[in-house]
Symmetry: C2
Subunit: 469 residues, 2 copies
């Protein structure tokens, strides 16, 4: 049927000269009926509040979802039940191990020249301070490299503090340079003899929220408590240090390393009619940090990928499968993703397109692929159908996918896509207590859902099976 239609077009019922490249691509890859279906699904998704209902339910009824907690188990049960209620053809769990960690208490004070509370949070994986806390003098560094360059032993008994300011940008490109200090700051501070580590939050916010996130120790280097302070508190510390007198602070962090835990990737699939083993992978992660309710990170992603597939299934059964994977324990180190791509290591060629939504809930403004040349006509056709949603096409063909696709990229050259979201405000909320449902704009969430639905349906139905380069 599709071939017949394509032949019909090529035999010039439509004058070929009037077809632009993207229209040609569409005509080559999709039947007219298929394109009409794409439009129908797009409009439906763009007018549905299903994704809102899902993110509202997850963040309200479950709330924070730190891997291994009771809430994480509830989230797994929630996701499985929602997939089933939404009528996905297959729903299953796959286990994932991860290093389990808990935050029990965190407080801090500036002690000199006056006592003032510090708004701070333990970085993920941080050890505890002694039960009664610890006190020390703050030594300020502007950058991670400045701390690295400090002489050995120079921080003996001190508390190292990096005051690096993250840049605000639409694509969040300030995150990479800032996050170095989170990942390894405590290790570098310990090397110089520091008894604890503080950093300005990896955040663009001027509100008094501290930003948590993964941090890592190095074997052979003393573990010291690792914390981030809210940006107004970082400013306060910097002003006090600038006055020239010693600034002493008190930190009390109580956490626990619980060893290896188990959580679950929750997977729902709409099974393809023609090539069921081939599939479009729509990713997001089900876990969240414990401070907020994980609405932007990544409840929105969970909701919109589930809803996108459901909107497709409500209208048509795609030729290839659409698999929504809600990864486990992303925040603690992509553990669910590592388990998933390890488990399917020999069958990664079945993935015809992969994209992850894990950058909040602002609008998708651009679409980009990372595919071989033969797949580009499909990409152009998809881009054409995303245009009505205000999504532009970035031709660089260098998409990187979300964080949970890193293990995929490291294993094979998969066909990976970015549905780039506006991220200008994302790091105002990311990994803070302020990541709550009210930060999700229902209208923008609809646009995201529609974009994912268009992308998934077309990747599943394209004449060409897409592949990486």
């Amino acid at each position: 049927m599709k071939h017949a239609f394509r032949t019909l077009i090529q035999s010039s019922i439509l004058p070929l000269v009037t077809l632009c490249a993207s229209q040609l691509a569409q005509a080559q890859e999709f039947t007219k009926a298929e394109l009409e279906m794409v439009e129908k699904v797009r409009e439906h998704a763009h007018n549905s509040n299903l994704s809102w209902q899902l993110v509202e339910s997850l963040t309200t009824e479950v709330g924070p979802r730190l891997p291994g907690t009771e809430n994480d188990k509830m989230a797994v049960a929630w996701a499985k039940q929602k997939f089933q209620q939404l009528g996905f053809d297959k729903v299953w769990l796959e286990p994932s191990k991860f290093p389990e960690w808990r935050r029990y208490h965190e407080s801090g004070f500036i002690l000199t020249p006056s006592k003032q509370p510090l708004h701070l949070t333990a970085l993920g994986n941080s050890i505890s301070t002694p039960k009664k806390g610890l006190t020390g003098e703050v030594v300020l560094f502007e950058t991670f490299d400045e701390l690295k360059a400090a002489p050995a032993g120079s921080l003996e008994g001190k508390i190292a503090f990096i005051n690096y300011r993250m840049n605000r940008d639409i694509d969040g490109n300030g995150y990479g340079p800032a996050v170095k200090a989170r990942n390894k700051g405590a290790v570098e501070a310990a090397k110089k003899g520091a008894i604890a580590y503080m950093m300005r939050s990896v955040s663009t916010s001027h509100h008094r929220f501290a930003h948590t996130g993964g941090s890592h120790y190095t074997k052979g280097i003393t573990k010291i408590p690792a914390t981030a302070v809210a940006n107004p508190d970082a400013d306060q510390l910097a002003r006090l240090v600038a006055l020239g007198n010693p600034v002493r602070v008190e930190l009390n962090i109580q956490t626990e390393d619980l060893g290896e835990g188990t959580s679950y990737n929750v997977i729902g699939e709409i099974t393809g009619t023609k090539y069921p083993e081939q599939y479009v992978l729509l990713g997001s992660h089900l876990d969240s940090w414990d401070l907020g309710t994980g609405a932007l990170d990544d409840g929105a992603g969970v909701a919109l990928t589930m809803a996108a597939a459901k909107h497709i299934a409500d209208h048509t059964q795609p030729e290839r499968s659409i698999r929504v994977v809600l990864f486990a324990a992303e925040e603690l180190g992509l553990w669910g993703a590592k388990a998933y791509f390890k488990h399917y290591e020999k069958r990664l060629g079945n993935i015809v397109a992969a994209a992850e939504s894990d950058f909040g809930a602002d609008v998708v403004y651009a679409f980009e692929s990372n595919v071989n040349a033969a797949s580009l006509p499909v990409v152009r056709a998809i881009a054409e159908q995303l245009k009505p949603l205000g999504v532009k096409y970035i031709r660089k063909n260098e998409a990187r996918g979300g964080p949970d696709l890193i293990p995929l990229r490291q294993t094979t050259s998969a066909p990976i896509f970015d549905l780039h979201q506006v991220g200008t405000d994302y790091f105002d909320y990311h990994h803070t207590a302020d990541d709550t449902l009210d930060k999700v704009d229902p209208e923008k969430l609809k646009q995201n859902t529609a974009a994912y639905a268009v992308f998934a349906l077309m990747a599943a139905n394209a004449e060409t099976k897409m592949a990486g380069k």
Copy 2:
């Protein structure tokens, strides 16, 4: 000299027909040299960062200033020293009693359907929960009146929760209707048998900060713990209640009533040359809540009133005195102001103009008086000199002054002024941990300082001694 100049004008060196009313007022009340001095002081104040330096110093080196705390004592010492360093002619302290109260711990959790932290704060004056906290089912009311209308005994063992949403407005007029629930909510809840009280914060913020503030018990009514939750948490509670299942929460508030304490109004005066006993009163309050560093409430007011007087003194010695009064213990019930106006009860007629800056640090957009008819020419003249700062003149003549002028208004009909500030964002920060220095815009603070300097200098030098109506 002044009279000579006025006569000169009236004898038509300037053609009277071309003078507008406000120019006439200026000419009647001020010499040309005086008006030139006003311009000079205005420009100087508008270009000086003295007020910024003061608010930075107070909020950084002292920080939070809850009455009676070590920080409050530091603030009193800070203010006295600053007045002296700035060269005020007289600097003195006046004691004020107040009911001393401390906050030691506050935490809360939603318990069902899942455990989630609540961002909440004890209202000022709240009693403690039992040491291990208390738990109860939430009963939601939309308004204070709805709670008042609940049948007696209907909240036995329950936790009352008022979810009233404050309106955002330039003049903060949403505060009054919202604050009823803070003042007396716990009393009404206790009357119905509730074991604790929660309210949506009196705040326009969508960030996760709880808003504290004064609350009051009534003799004969059981005291129950009184708290406010951050607005996103109020939304979360409302969504959970709407699901129809019982919502249980846990609250743990540890506070202490320390009985009567003493703090100090700190007063600095620039002494008038001609009528030293008459004075312009520039008010603000030195204390703050303990959660933030009291930058907007009221560090900015302290800084800009001190700076305004200093800018005047740098250029001229006014005919009447300018007295800057940094009131004590405003947040706990205007205690410093009550003490001040009681102390000067018999000499309130010496106040020729009074204004308080206690509404943050956004620009002054309007000027309004509350004076007798004879004083209106002075008011018009001042308004004319405020125009270059973008300040309009509100002719209603119904100014109310800041909160610390309430005891003055209640005692006598004083000449009171409002330098109305834009308050659109004020209740995003007011009484929260997020009231920190970065919320003060240095440029807007300069405009405020200049407006206060113009007002104070002109009120001090006007030919007519202003009075209330």
